[in-house]
Symmetry: C2
Subunit: 356 residues, 2 copies
Amino acid sequence: MKTRKDKFGNINQREIANELGVSQSLVSKILAGRNEASPEMTGKILRLVQEKGYRPNMLVRGVLSGKTKTIGVVIPADGFFSEIVHGIHDCLTRAGYAMFLVWNDDHMVAPDSKKELEYIHSLVDRRVDGIILRPTHDEVSQMYFNEVHLRGIPMVIVVREIAPAHYDFVGTDDRAGGELAAKHLLELGHRCLGQIAGPSIVSTSRGRRLGFESAVADFGPTASCLTIEAPGFSNAKTQILELLQSTPRPTAVFAANDDAAAEIYVIAASLGLRIPDDLSVIGFGDLVFAPHLTPPLTTLRQNPYSIGENAAALMLTKCASKHKKKPAPEVMNIKFLPTLVVRGSTCAVKQRSQSV
Amino acid sequence: MKTRKDKFGNINQREIANELGVSQSLVSKILAGRNEASPEMTGKILRLVQEKGYRPNMLVRGVLSGKTKTIGVVIPADGFFSEIVHGIHDCLTRAGYAMFLVWNDDHMVAPDSKKELEYIHSLVDRRVDGIILRPTHDEVSQMYFNEVHLRGIPMVIVVREIAPAHYDFVGTDDRAGGELAAKHLLELGHRCLGQIAGPSIVSTSRGRRLGFESAVADFGPTASCLTIEAPGFSNAKTQILELLQSTPRPTAVFAANDDAAAEIYVIAASLGLRIPDDLSVIGFGDLVFAPHLTPPLTTLRQNPYSIGENAAALMLTKCASKHKKKPAPEVMNIKFLPTLVVRGSTCAVKQRSQSV
DNA sequence: TTGTAGGCGTTATCAA
DNA sequence: TTGATAACGCCTACAA
């Protein structure tokens, strides 16, 4: 007494088969592209399939094969990450994969990584073939280890590295970026440098900071750098104030990212400092607003689309080799070199401004 | 001779059951929250489930129930749509739904809507419960009708309405926006108005254009409006040039969107026209760069996050009523009123500039 | 060339 | 309180 074939859509192989008086398994074979039926039968089947608008059920295929051709992406929602997602999407789409997207808004140190775990579960329950993830911070790594690695689900980390280097990683060479920033300022003649660093629990912050500091150290004792760590990537007002009021006042400041750089603009103005004449400012990220600031911000441009594309490509490789039960390929670590974009917020140091 | 329970992960109910010497169906019942086992047994099962890290297989549930708790979103990739996606995502996540995201890059009239159809198929094959879609243009409606409506898959259209009003829609009240733009300019004393309209096959363009024109008409015969239709939302250089060189030259121009407005800035400058003194410009969209232009752009702000949230909420309603086999709820049409954001690109008309 | 049968992980029904 | 069984749509052996 069940209702069957009541809807026009959602037709299955059995219904095709019944209508043609053949067995369902024959339909399955033909649809799989195997030439195991007579030409007429093949034609009939394919025609009916077309006519009825039959569509395969990938849920079932997923259950059977253990492959859903679906990748989960857990990433924060902002312009930068949208571009990463764009790269991921395009690569996956080309390969016939679909993308579950989970915006992970906890930009900062989120003590309730429970939410992040829920996101992972939501993907695991849907049996994604792999997960591409931007971790909120280092310490959550343990959880992912248990929740993803132990299940044998391939995972690629993007943007922020996490502590145990078990995972493939695609991101920016933050350390090189920090070095580029320092070299740029040193070349302009600045010797008294300042730095607003991001939270040290985040790998990007650490990299940028270390790169900047090591380049200054390598330059020799004539150059010095005062680093102040901000608790987040923005809202660093007190730290910026502290840095700009230190003695001697730095003639150039490297901000951990463009948001902090924009805050420096505001605070510098409130102190009567002109950019770049009294203070050179260099940011990190080349976010959308960077060229629109007054003066336009000198910054380091990252490569979000490529990061996404490469992360996805890497994921597809891992999925393929897992399926073929090949030995797991060695752990990859891909880092894109950021490029220095020189705009109006940095200039050669003025001799006079050295005294305070 | 098959390999079973070889992996730590991907454990199923049967394995839990075997380990405890009970039947799999009992495990199923307990996990479903039904109190049909003895307290000790319940405890044992739940503990083992926890310990083994069992996770339900939503693929199977999907096959059985016909509900995957998954929604497909087909939308272009840019800042505006990212915000819509954000709204959709948050609403779906709250309800335990996951989101397949497909970036549909064919911003303009894409003759190869074949690609769009492929996207739809990719979602159909994964048996999404519903689809939220921003159509590329009106004419593709037929395809969706066949491919989605006939299958009984709920669909919500966002941003751009399509011809047969069968579908629920959430977007901006473009017509009201056009009216607001016209009224703003008329209030500033402008009487000779110009308009760069978008392609008329797109509902948003039509709405904005009609709203603008009807407001001018309602004002009376002392005001006039010259409308020129651009083939796309940007790259309207020739049309802009034509408009700005028409006689009499408009003292104020309404651009179909902010991109076109930005182009007007460039061309006006090349003609020696100052904004807003010689030419008032008003855009549509309040895109990220709008406040950063010089002068900052007066424009109409849309509500992308709310559009997304409402589209998702509507979708969930439809899914629920479909599942309960209630009569289909009436077709909804939700339009958010854009708000006028007055910045520096519009000002009162100068008496002298009326002559050419 | 075509068909039969078993199984994938789960839920629901009905029996013990 | 617990278990056996059918069903979901598909694929893969194996049989005719």
